[in-house]
Every structure is written in structure tokens, then in C-alpha cells.
């Protein structure tokens, strides 16, 4: 393989751990994104003018009750996805790592997801799952970007590849009760991932992952979005309806349009 040393290290770590955590490729792009959130939140709420961005995000539970959380979250998602350059900036935040791990002809999810997990709120929990179990292609990775420091139960967890292989071999036995039963059977092996603001997490969505009740005193804000090689196999999430090419190269444009001359 003709990879650089840095690419080799990144790839090996991804394969061994099922994820990588790195400093943002483009911190300006990340700050731009967080500023967009700051603006949107202040437009939606009217009593937060003297609060810093970091405090506003970490303490959003002081301003938005659980009963209004879903409507609030949907409003923010709608707003961020309506911003022209938002997806391009999102890609830039981890561009170097995505290019090294996935490829330089990428398809990107059309809409970016947002998770807001208030302290003690059990209404936004994601039970243990692997995206491939619900139709994603194993060729996809998730780029997970926090807007605040995420640690302990404020973070997400993942089951490492070796434990995941063991689970797959005993899946019918362990998964016969409920998703909570499945989690209880693996909770000793899962790893909670500490990701600070300014860092990005890229993980293998074919590994079981999820979150638990946020027992910390701060709210978690994180975005997630899937990437894959544009010409790698698709699962139930297709080109056009879910993915869009973002870095198609000239030779592929040419190849897709090429026709042999006709002889009659």
C-alpha cells in the first residue's frame, strides 16, 4: 500500500479500535459551525443575550425544558441544514482524516443530524445499535463532531472490534430479549469516548454503539453525518435520497460520460 506514514498510523488505529479521535483538520470551519448554532439558538430563545456560547450550549437545559426539547432540536436541525455552506464546512472539519480513511471520492449524507442530550433526560437515548443492522452499508463511516466537551456519560460509547466479533458469534443468544438486555450483556466491554470541542471522532458504524442517560451536569451537543466512497456498495440508504457525491474527480466525470464511437 502506497500510504504515507501518517495515513498508515491512522488506518491501523481505526482498524484496531474501530474509531479515531483527532484535532479538527480545520478549526476555523468548526468555529464557524459553532457560531451558526450560537446565532440560531439566540434567535429561538430570547433570554440568553449575556451568556457565552460554551455556557449556553452546556446549560441549555436551563432554558429548554424536556417537554420542548424535540421541537427545539428539530428547529435547530432545520435551520442548520438550510445554510448553504454548512455541509461543506462540516466536511472540512475532518477532511484530511476522511480522505485517508474513506477515500478522495466521497459521498456525504444529505442532512446532518444533531443530538442534544440534557442531563437526566431519558427521552433522547439511542439504544445499542449498529447502523448496518438497519440498512446502512458497511462501507460507511460516521463523522461525529461535538460542540461541547463530551466525557463519561455525556459521551457516546462503542463496542471495540474484537468484542464486536465475539458478540456477532453469539448474537442470537444475546439479542433474544431486548436492546437493553443486549446492552447489559456487553456493558463491561463498551468504551465511552471522550471527545473535546476542537476534536472530531470518526467511527465504524458497523460496531455496536449508543448512549446512556447523561448523568453529568452539562448538556451534550453533537452532530453526526455519514460518509462513504462514492463508488462503494450502498445499503438501503441510496445515492440521491440519502447520499450525494461531494468530491467526484475529473476522471470519474469523464468516465461516466464516455461512449465508444458507433460503427454504423
Amino acid at each position: 500500500m502506497f500510504k504515507t506514514e501518517a495515513e498508515k498510523i491512522l488506518s491501523l488505529e481505526y482498524l484496531e479500535k474501530g474509531y479515531v479521535i483527532r484535532a479538527a483538520s480545520d478549526l476555523d470551519a468548526l468555529d464557524w459551525i459553532r457560531n451558526q448554532f450560537d446565532r440560531i439558538i439566540r434567535e429561538l430563545l430570547n433570554n440568553v443575550s449575556d451568556v457565552s456560547t460554551e455556557n449556553l450550549l452546556n446549560n441549555i437545559h436551563s432554558y429548554v425544558p424536556v417537554s420542548q426539547l424535540n421541537d427545539f432540536r428539530l428547529s435547530v436541525i432545520r435551520e442548520i441544514n438550510a445554510i448553504d455552506k454548512f455541509r461543506e464546512m462540516y466536511y472540512r472539519v475532518a477532511m484530511d482524516y476522511l480522505d485517508a480513511l474513506v477515500g478522495n471520492e466521497l459521498a456525504m449524507q444529505l442532512r446532518i443530524n444533531l443530538s442534544i442530550q440534557l442531563p437526566g433526560d431519558d427521552s433522547s437515548l439511542l439504544p445499542v445499535h449498529a447502523d448496518v443492522w438497519s440498512g446502512d452499508s458497511p462501507y460507511e463511516v460516521v463523522l461525529w463532531i461535538p460542540l461541547v466537551n463530551c466525557y463519561k456519560s455525556k459521551a457516546m460509547y462503542i463496542l471495540p472490534p474484537k468484542s464486536s466479533d465475539e458478540l456477532n458469534q453469539e448474537f442470537s443468544k444475546k439479542a433474544n430479549a431486548s436492546s437493553e438486555g443486549l446492552y447489559q450483556s456487553i456493558k463491561g466491554q463498551v468504551e465511552f469516548l471522550e471527545v473535546r470541542y476542537g476534536e472530531v471522532l470518526i467511527f465504524d458504524q458497523s460496531l455496536p454503539h449508543g448512549n446512556r442517560l447523561n448523568d453529568e451536569e452539562e448538556t451534550r451537543w453533537s452532530m453526526n453525518c455519514r460518509f462513504k466512497g462514492v463508488f462503494t456498495p450502498y445499503g438501503d440508504k441510496k445515492i440521491g435520497e440519502f447520499f450525494e457525491p461531494i468530491t467526484l474527480r475529473a476522471a470519474s466525470h469523464r468516465g461516466m460520460s464516455f461512449k465508444l464511437p458507433e460503427l454504423k
Binding site: L110, V230, I239, G240
Partner: protein, 131 residues
């Protein structure tokens, strides 16, 4: 509010089959989200390769602000025919929407974006598959 004519299929397209009432629901939802007035959908004939209904929609394009099809992949498979549609829509200053993909085109860049997705979709069967 801009008026768009719905367009749905009564046969599978590019290996997909969607019940007609679901196609209409998706278009209606798209129109609501994008502040468009949804005019009753025209249903393409079931005969293979038919785009006769679509042809009629293009002739009537002057009467509406655009078309809202269920999917990008209900455009003709033939590249030349698709090009003709892009050209007609742009020349008349209209917008063509695709509800399930939440995409639309109304200029050179956005129509090129749609065409690229089409070409990739046509190329993918030549790429390998997984079980």
C-alpha cells in the same frame, strides 16, 4: 405561493417500486416544508419507457412555477432526453423539485448536480456488491 404540478409513477423505476399514495404523501410533505402549492399529481403511464405524461407536463410548464416529481430517478433514463428537460426548465425560468431526495434544479449548477447523481446511479451496477 409558488404552484408546482406533482408527478408520480405507476411502475417501478430504477429498481424501486413505491405505492402511488406514498409518492403523493412524500410530495405533499415536501411542498408543505418548502412553502409550495401542490397541484394534483399527474401519473405516468405504466408502459415501460413511457414518458408521455411527462412530455405533456413539459408542454404545460408555462402554467405553473415548476414540477414536483417523487424522485430524481423518474426522469428519462436516456441522457439526451434528460438534457432536453434540463434545458426546457432552465429556459423557462422554472424549478424542478424531487421530493424524496429533497433536491431541486433551477440553474446550470443545480441541474449538473442532478445529472451527476444520475450518472453515478447508472454506473453503480458496474461496481461490486456486498451481501
Amino acid at each position: 405561493m409558488k404552484k408546482v404540478r406533482g408527478y408520480i409513477f405507476s411502475r417501478p423505476f430504477m429498481g424501486e417500486r413505491v405505492p402511488q399514495h406514498i409518492q403523493n404523501l412524500v410530495i405533499r410533505d415536501y411542498c408543505n416544508r418548502n412553502n409550495l402549492q401542490y397541484l394534483l399529481s399527474a401519473t405516468e403511464y405504466a408502459m415501460e419507457n413511457s414518458h408521455l405524461i411527462h412530455e405533456q407536463l413539459m408542454r404545460d410548464l408555462t402554467e405553473v412555477d415548476g414540477i414536483a416529481a417523487y424522485s430524481i430517478f423518474q426522469l428519462p433514463e436516456n441522457e439526451t432526453e434528460r438534457s432536453k428537460i434540463y434545458r426546457q426548465v432552465l429556459n423557462q425560468g422554472k424549478t424542478y423539485h424531487f421530493a424524496v431526495e429533497s433536491l431541486c434544479f433551477n440553474d446550470e449548477d443545480s441541474s449538473a448536480r442532478i445529472e451527476t447523481i444520475w450518472k453515478i446511479k447508472k454506473t453503480l451496477p458496474n461496481c461490486y456488491l456486498f451481501d
